[in-house]
Amino acid sequence: MAGRPRLAVLKFTSCDGCQLSLLDCEDELLAIAGALEIANFAEASREVAPGPYDLALVEGSITTAHDAERIRQVRRESSVLVTIGACATAGGIQALRNWADVEEFTRYVYATPEHISTLDRSTPVHDHVTVDFELRGCPISKRQLLEVVNAFLNRRRPVIPTFAVCVECKRAGVPCVMVAEGTPCLGPVTQAGCGALCPSYRRGCFGCFGPMESSNAASLSNRWQELGAGSRELVDAFRSYNAYAEPFREAADAH
């Protein structure tokens, strides 16, 4: 089957959930394996072929000096590098360390902290190398993952909108939880992609797809305060899975 594009799925600091999304494409998995040569996907195959790769899907943030080097190698070996998930695109939940004393964190978790070596920041892949496309979400949506793979195979621009979760919320016909129930929601400043999951389960969005294209976090923060949120709640809200993404970082730092 020569000539099929070669796929690598690679992991850095993360929970595995985003690459698992590929294995969760139960209906499409065998078709994907037919359309692409799965050259390096440790989660699925013990056969690991060396680069170069035509498409690399990279999960996870950079938290060690070794990984900072490894991602450069990956970039050199990959024609198209797509980062998948909040860890890879924004540093992930583990970027909460970026506001803390990592040594103290280490002492808290590990009995012998001297055995642990880690960078004091968790950073997104685009801080280290050029990224061709970023797929957001904690975790990514498998529908969007399929769209990216599909667009790659059909050589078109992936239809991955950068507008707000509210757009999907309204398309889905979900009554706004903020307006109808007074529940604080990050939907207006968060990028679509999940299909407005949380509001459809009557929960405010907590921003797991990161900032949308033109986030007005200041205005939304004011609204949250009118709904009863304090600064502490605002900081908690913006400092989660995409804490280190700029508009959210600034919004939290403002409170």
Partner: protein, 428 residues
Amino acid sequence: MPTERTIDVEYLARVEGEGSLKAVVRDGTVELVEFGIFEPPRFFEAFLRGRPYSDAPDITARICGICPVAYQMSSCHAMERAFGATVGEPWRSLRRLLYCGEWIESHVLHVFLLHAPDFLGYESAIHMAADHREAVEKALRLKKIGNEIVTVLGGREIHPINVRVGGFYSLARRRDLEAVPLDEALDLARWMVAFTASLPMPDVELDFDFVSLRHPDEYPLNEGRIVSTSGIDVANDEWDRAFVEEHVERSNALHSRTVDGGVYHVGPLARYAHNADRLSEEARRAGADTGLPAVVRNPFRSIVVRAVETVHAVGEAIRIADAYDDTVDPFVPIAPVAGTGAAGTEAPRGLLWHRYEVDGEGRITEARIVPPTAQNQLTMEADVRAVLEANLSLPDDELQWRLEQTIRNYDPCISCATHFLRLEIDRG
């Protein structure tokens, strides 16, 4: 001439982290077996401090994309205990239902996509599909049904959004649950038992100290006392009376022993050993039909136990779904008070224990999380040693594969259980 074989698996990828395996064999004697975890630390326990209690289920889910529901369940139960809140029916059953979905999904994933290829000599399930297309397709179908349960109840299969301390944000509609083809899943799960039982099985018997929950009337998922073969029998908040955690240089994970220094084993074999009598009739029969004994000591045979547990989970899901009433309140209101709560639940890979201290404002002040793979680390090493000793005559590549398979018996977490090992055997 003395010979030395160093087996150095640099990238055992992730065992709830990235792992490595190192073994040294000198003159036919196994000198060293070390299972290390070098997945960069993510410091969950540290940054949970100061966060509101309500964040715990969402944040801890991000520890593992393979079994997020387990993290959500353990953290919810621990928090509810800290607040003295009682979350009874129907939420109790619905949580079991959600957990059953994860068990089905996770067990099928492990059995077919990660483990079965070992038994049949394939690099991956995709390679396996070339010869066993129908089996792989059936497996994917069953896995999908497990995922559908999680999606209907939880919103999505990975990091569900609908779980909260006290219950759920909103209840799935009955008609959405009815659309999940659970009856088909039961047939598929039964077929899975027969399939796994037909796999060529290495012959090993090991003495394990099995640790799992034990519940008076149920095969344990969310609740029960913590018991062991060696006689431990403690409540969830008495963990420290029974176990200790250690941290060694080669690893970024902590690993556990019993207080008297013993190595122990959590997971399907342990659950099964302590609770075979609590299995549903259909699961027990499916196991019995393949001649499964009441206690399984061959770790390779865990693949059959997983299949039997899958039958149990599907049956349980059917019973809960049948009785499902979507008109009740989605959750019990929670009033946070200062307190401490601990809870263990049975993740697909074994006992997952959480403990939190919360202040009067409902903010977390202390957090401890003991995942199954950390507990199995030492037993995995012992097991690898035993398998190595018994198979020294094997050529390098076969030995490598056999050791990988041994690790995968534990389903330590997906990528380590996948086919990741880079093994060097240095004959010195």
